[in-house]
């Protein structure tokens, strides 16, 4: 992390033993089949190709609004979501494309959503920041920094209330940790022993403000100590380390119904959003250093090549397939229709959408 602007002394002090060289030996990784390892690699590649393709669509002015790319952070979402069981839930902020693909969502409705098409995962009503797939326990995709974290605590409350052995992973960026709602969530989770893992994806910058310019005190996860919560840090460039660390805290949630905070060091290659000129707060050299030396896909690829699981040929094949999949998703999005003005007032109220079960009377929309 020393490359992040003027170095992050506080962060280094609070991040001992991140990314141990032994993570691949942890049972959660050692027990993976070769096919499963290839699957994890493939998902990271698919996320990156999807993001690159969506960037091109944005540059071609096919996409409106904001586009927050996940490029560089792939090992975080893939590592965390690969650990999900039936009663494990995920909620995140607006940089949500990686999580959506990592939980198993198809690229087509995702690309169609950023195109604002009716075939999108939210029928074109949510956009890039608001992907959802509750059938896969993926609860968004939320636009307000830190605003999703109380919802994540609520998911954990729901899991516990219903007597399920499960968890909620509540993802946020390093810019969310100073929001009041996040601290209120920490307190409630710790007070009531709720099975939630607060996952801080620390990519170094809250928009254009580095950690040392925004967060006081020691490490971000270490704040858990104040709430009597378990906490940890891990290397988000190393998929094995993400899985090994998160497995420990997810087990704590599922088995003992205890919350925790995990700070995952990661890095985004692109700006905060694609509208970010990305020139005022970090150097080109810093970005290139991460791309060359800490790229999560390259590192995992090297590991799997060394393990004899991947070959140069299969690496190329996976990449070609991912590019083709992103291209097909784009074609699907291009060919899909936009919603119509008639769709504006659908999906606002459950009751309006289910007229056979309606009990209310009176007027509920007020356009006249």
């Amino acid at each position: 992390m020393s490359n992040k602007t003027s170095a992050s002394p506080t962060k280094q002090a609070a991040a001992p033993a991140a990314g141990t060289a032994q993570s691949h030996l942890a049972p959660i990784n050692a027990n993976l089949t070769p096919e499963a390892k290839i699957g994890l690699y493939r998902t990271m590649v698919r996320i990156r190709r999807f993001e690159e393709r969506s960037l091109r669509a944005y540059q071609a002015k096919k996409i409106g609004g904001f586009l927050h790319l996940y490029i560089g952070q792939e090992a975080v979402a893939v590592g965390c979501c690969s650990l999900m069981g039936k009663h494990d839930h995920v909620i995140t902020a607006y940089r949500d494309h990686g999580h959506a693909i990592a939980v198993g969502m198809d690229m087509k409705p995702l690309m169609a959503e950023v195109y604002g098409k009716v075939t999108g995962c939210s029928k074109g009503k949510g956009g890039s920041m608001h992907y959802f797939d509750p059938k896969r326990n993926f609860w968004g995709g939320h636009g307000i920094v830190g605003g999703q974290i109380p919802l994540g605590v609520g998911l954990a409350y729901g899991v516990k209330y219903k007597g399920h052995k499960g968890s909620a992973m509540a993802f946020m960026g390093d810019g969310a940790v100073n929001q009041g709602a996040v601290h209120e969530s920490y307190n409630l989770a710790a007070l009531w022993n709720l099975p939630v893992v607060f996952v801080i994806e620390n990519n170094g910058y809250s928009m254009g403000t580095s950690q040392e310019r925004s967060s006081a005190g020691f490490g971000l996860a270490e704040r858990g100590r104040a709430y009597g919560m378990a906490w940890g840090v891990c290397n988000g460039h190393d998929l094995y380390d993400v899985r090994a660390t998160m497995d420990k805290f997810l087990t704590l949630a599922r088995e003992e119904s205890k919350p925790s905070i995990v700070e995952i060091d990661t890095y985004r290659y692109r700006g905060h959003s694609v509208a970010d000129p990305d020139k005022t707060y970090r150097t080109r050299d810093e970005i290139e250093d991460y791309q060359k030396n800490k790229d999560p896909i390259t590192l995992f690829q090297k590991a799997l090549l060394a393990e004899g699981i991947l070959t140069e040929a299969s690496v190329g094949e996976i990449d070609t397939e991912a590019r083709a999949e992103a291209e097909q998703a784009t074609e699907f999005a291009e060919a899909s229709p936009f919603p119509t003005a008639d769709d504006l007032q659908k999906d606002v109220y459950w009751e309006v959408d289910n007229p056979d079960q309606k009990t209310s009377q009176g007027r509920i929309f007020f356009d006249r």
Binding site: H89, I91, G120, C121, S122, K123, G124, K125, G126, H130, F132, D133, P134, K135, W139, G140, G141, H142, G143, I144, G147, Q148, I149, P150, L151, G152, V153, G154, L155, Y157, G158, V159, Y161, K162, G180, A181, E184, S185, N187, L188, L191, Q345, K346, D347, V348, Y349, W350, E351, D353, N354, T359, S360, Q361, G362, R363, I364, F365, F366, R368
Partner: protein, 325 residues
């Protein structure tokens, strides 16, 4: 029919729904061990235990947001705000998350949550504790807004709200908690979006809701006895959905309208009602639509002056005479 207080009526609604549906949980500050800041939930912890009646820390953004998240998974939280005035610290959770999540997910998620508590002035608690946010809430498609004026309505509407699959904002009144009304012992529900004509009349329609209904009824009595004028009082009961048809039917009968509300005037609920009446019943009107609101300043502390800041029977009487002139 037994006479019970508005407070007891709400407690009965909560209790019946807790007994009916294992997913219903009552949460809020001081609702359990303290027996409720306004004793609405008195005795419920002892009867239903700490899993169903849950004390929260003073942490509205946290616990309201938690309730919204839990409701997405099918829990049916009934969250108490000690005062609705505290909604401002949970605004993002209520009006970004609860109101929007169904829409932003393309209809994949719903939030069967009720947020309830008192929203009124008149108790000398000053500007921070006297907000009446029904207009602000109703300005957000995705939520429903209920403001009951009587014990009977409070019980029937709250039971419906708890069964509703959309987020329902339920605004009570600390001054009404002690008001008694007839409430049947057998179960009943009142649909949202159905106004109630609390008094029949022919000369003037007063459109109102919440505690202002009581003031309007008192004024109507005086108008009949002392001025020989017949006033109809329409209690909206629900702000969104809104039973505008009952209002329009009354206007067609009386041709004169006074709106009475405990709201500040700018962009109030009454502003919307007045717009709709002129748009849809213009030809029925024999004069301009009148409106009586809270006087347009922050809520004053000074007890005698606060009475005059809010609607009260005398102010309603005066406004009604102007509307009838």
């Amino acid at each position: 029919m037994p006479l019970i207080t508005y407070r007891e009526a709400i407690r009965h609604a909560l209790s019946e729904e807790i007994e009916r549906d294992p997913n219903v949980v009552v949460m809020g500050e001081e609702v359990a061990q303290f027996n409720g800041a306004y004793k609405v939930t008195e005795g419920m912890l002892a009867k239903y235990g700490p899993t169903r009646i849950v004390d929260t820390p003073i942490s509205e953004a946290g616990f309201i947001g938690m309730g919204v998240g839990a409701s997405m998974l099918g829990v049916r939280p009934v969250m108490e705000l000690m005062f609705w005035s505290f909604y401002s610290v949970a605004f993002d959770q209520i009006l970004n998350n609860a109101a929007n999540v169904r829409y932003m997910s393309g209809g994949q998620i719903n939030c069967p949550i009720v947020i309830r508590g008192p929203a009124n002035g008149g108790t000398n608690v000053g500007a921070t504790h006297s907000h009446t946010p029904e207009n602000v809430l109703a300005n957000h498609p995705g939520v429903k807004v209920v403001v009951p004026s009587t014990a009977y309505d409070a019980k029937g509407l709250l039971k419906t709200a708890i069964r509703d699959n959309d987020p329902v904002m339920f605004l009570e009144n600390t001054i009404l908690y002690g008001e008694k009304g007839e409430v049947p012992t057998e179960e009943y529900l009142i649909p949202l979006g159905k106004a109630d004509v609390k008094r029949q009349g022919t000369d003037l329609t007063i459109v109102t809701y919440g505690r202002s209904v009581l003031h309007s009824l008192k004024a109507a009595e005086i108008l009949e006895k002392e001025h020989g004028r017949s006033v109809e009082v329409v209690d909206l009961r629900t702000i969104r959905p809104l039973d505008i048809d009952t209002v329009l039917a009354s206007v067609a009968k009386t041709h004169r309208v006074l709106i009475v509300e405990e709201q500040k005037p700018f962009a109030s609920v009454g502003s919307q009602i007045a717009y709709m009446i002129q748009r849809e019943a213009f030809d029925e009107l024999d004069g301009p639509i009148h409106r009586l609101t809270t006087v347009d300043s922050p809520a004053i502390y000074s007890p005698p002056v606060e009475i005059e800041q809010l609607p009260n029977p005398n102010r309603v009487l005066k406004a009604a005479l102007e509307a009838l002139a």
